[in-house]
C-alpha cells in the first residue's frame, strides 16, 4: 500500500471493548497524541489492511481515546473489530479533520453513531450555547443521554423513529426539522451521520432558509 506520511498506521493496544447496545460498540486505548474534538482517525486491523475513518469519541484531555461504531454486517472492518477484546492490537492513523468544535453558538444534528464528534466536543468543554438534535431508531441507542441532558437541558432533543416515550419526539430527525416553525439562519448547523441523512437534512435546512454556507457536514464513508 502507498500512503502519504500522515496516513501511516501505528499499532495500539485496546484497553477495553464494550457492546453498548445491540451492534453498537465502544472501544478504547491509551491516548498518546493530541487531537481536536471532532477529528477522526483511520483504523485498520492489520498494518496493510483496509482502513476506515472513525470520529474520536472522547474529550481532548482524557487519558483514554474512545471510538464509537456500529457493526455493518456486510462491511469488512466492523464485524471483525467487534470480535476483538482488551489486549488486542489495532492500527491507527494520526488524527485529522476539520469538523471541529468551537465555543460559539451552533446547532448539532446527528443520527446514530454520528453523535461521536459531538460527544467529544461535549467532553472537551464545547457544549455551551449548543443545541443538539439526535436521532436513533430505538431508545436504548441514545448513549451518553444523561451527560448531554445535564449539559444541554432543554436544548437537547431526541428523535426516536421506532419507539416512543414522553421524553422523545417520535419520528426521524428530518421529520422533526420539517415540523419546526422556524430555524435561526444566523447559526451554524453541524451535521454528522450517513450520507442519506446528511443530504436530506441539508436540503430541509436550505428549504427553511438556512444559507448553505452555514451548514457544515461530516459524512461517514
Amino acid at each position: 500500500m502507498v500512503a502519504g506520511h500522515n496516513h501511516q498506521l501505528q499499532p495500539v493496544t485496546l484497553s477495553f471493548t464494550e457492546e453498548l447496545s445491540e451492534n453498537i460498540y465502544l472501544i478504547g486505548f491509551e491516548r498518546t497524541f493530541k487531537f481536536q474534538a471532532g477529528q477522526v482517525i483511520g483504523i485498520a486491523l492489520e498494518e496493510q489492511g483496509p482502513r476506515r475513518l472513525y470520529s474520536l469519541c472522547s474529550g481532548e484531555k482524557e487519558e483514554t481515546v474512545k471510538i464509537l461504531y456500529n457493526v455493518v454486517d456486510e462491511g469488512y472492518l466492523t464485524p471483525r473489530l467487534s470480535d476483538l477484546e482488551a489486549g488486542d492490537t489495532i492500527w491507527i492513523t494520526e488524527p485529522r479533520g476539520e469538523f471541529t468544535g468551537n465555543p460559539g453558538p451552533a446547532v448539532w444534528i446527528a443520527t446514530g453513531t454520528g453523535i461521536a464528534p459531538f460527544y467529544s466536543m461535549l467532553r472537551s468543554g464545547l457544549a455551551r450555547d449548543k443545541i443538539l438534535i439526535h436521532g436513533n431508531r430505538f431508545l436504548e441507542q441514545f448513549h451518553f443521554y444523561d451527560e448531554f441532558e445535564a449539559a444541554l437541558a432543554d436544548s437537547y432533543t431526541r428523535c426516536c423513529s421506532q419507539e416512543e416515550n414522553e421524553e422523545v419526539y417520535l419520528g426521524r430527525v428530518t421529520a422533526y426539522l420539517e415540523e419546526l416553525p422556524a430555524l435561526n439562519p444566523k447559526l451554524k448547523y453541524y451535521l454528522c451521520g450517513n450520507a442519506e441523512m446528511v443530504v436530506e437534512t441539508r436540503d430541509i435546512l436550505i428549504q427553511k432558509g438556512i444559507p448553505f454556507d452555514h451548514i457544515i457536514s461530516e459524512i461517514y464513508f
Binding site: M1, V2, A3, G4, N6, H7, V40, G42, R51, L53, R96, G97, E98, F99, N194, A195, E196, V198, V199, R202, D203, I206, Q207, P211, F212, D213, I215, I216, S217, E218, I219, Y220, F221
Partner: protein, 342 residues
Amino acid sequence: MKKKLFGLTLEELRVLTSHVGLPAYAARQISEWLYQKEITSIDEMTNLSLKARAQLSASYELGLSPPMDEQVSTDGTKKYLFPVLVNKYIETAYIPEAKRSTVCVSSQVGCKMGCLFCMTGKQGFQGNLTSGEILNQFRSIPEWKTLTNIVYMGMGEPLDNLSEVLKSLQILTSDWGFGMSPRRITVSTIGITPAMLQFLDQSQAHLAVSLHTPFDEERRKLMPVQQVYPLQEVLSEIRSWDFGRQRRVSFEYILFKGFNDSPSHVKELSRILHGIRCRINLIRFHPIPDTPLQSPDESTIQHFKELLNAKRITTTIRASRGQDIWAACGLLSTKKLAENKA
C-alpha cells in the same frame, strides 16, 4: 443463483478453473472469450471441451446484461439505465464526438460523498458495483465497438470502491483483457488521498480531481470530503507524484454564480496549482432540484477561462452535451427509484 464470469481478472479465472477442475491454460482461453470476442453464452466457448463448458455452466453464467432504458439527445448523446442490485439503477452516458466516442461509467449505486451540487448524492448510498457491473456499462451498449475513451465520472465516487475499480482497469488495459491503452481512460475523484495514492501506484490511467474552489472554507461547504481529506493535502501528494510524460492530471471545476467565479478564485487557483503540470476543465452547472447554486452566464465562464489561460493554466470549457436529456447525472436513476417507491 449463478456467479458471473464477466469482470473476473485472469488471476481470478485461474483460481476458478482450478476449483472447477479445468486445466490452467483454460483461464486464458476464458478471458479471451470474455473480453476479446463476442459471445452470448458459455456454450460458445468452443475451444473448451464440452465437459469443461458443462462444468463451468453448472455454477457460472457469462454475466453481461443489456440496458433497460435509454434516452437519446438531439446531439447524439445517449444516457443508458442499467438495473443492478434489487430495484436499483445506474446511469451510463455515451458521448459521440467528431474524432472520438466516450462512455461515462458509474462505479457505485448512489454515493456517500454528499456534495452539495450533485443529484446522485440525493439517493444516498445503495452499494458498490462489481468490476463486472462497471465493465458491463462499457461492453453492453450498442456502440461499444466504436468507443475510444472511458471516463469514470458517472454515479458514485470511484476511489470509494477502489478494489473493484482497479480490477476493472486491469481488465480494460491488460493484453488478456480488452487491451485498451490507459491513456484512453480517466478516473475522477473528489480526492480521497490514500485511495488516490493507491490508484496512482497501481494504474496508469489519467487522474481527474474535482476541485470546484481553491479555498478550503468554501470547499468544506460544497464537499464534505474536505473535512477529512483537505485539498492542500491532495495537491501536495499530486505535486510529488511522478506522472511521466504521458499521464495526465486534470482538475474539474464546476462554476457557480457568485460563489467560485471571481478573479480572486483565479489568483488562488494559480497559486495552489503552481508546479503541477495539469489542466482545468470548466464545467457548466446544470441545476438540480432545490439547489441553492446557480450557473453563471456564458460571458462569465469565458472570462474565467481567459483569466486562467492568462495565468498559463491550460483551461478548457467542457462542451455541454445532451442537455435535453442530461439535466444532471443521477436524475434518471433517481426518477426511476422514486417511481418504484410510489
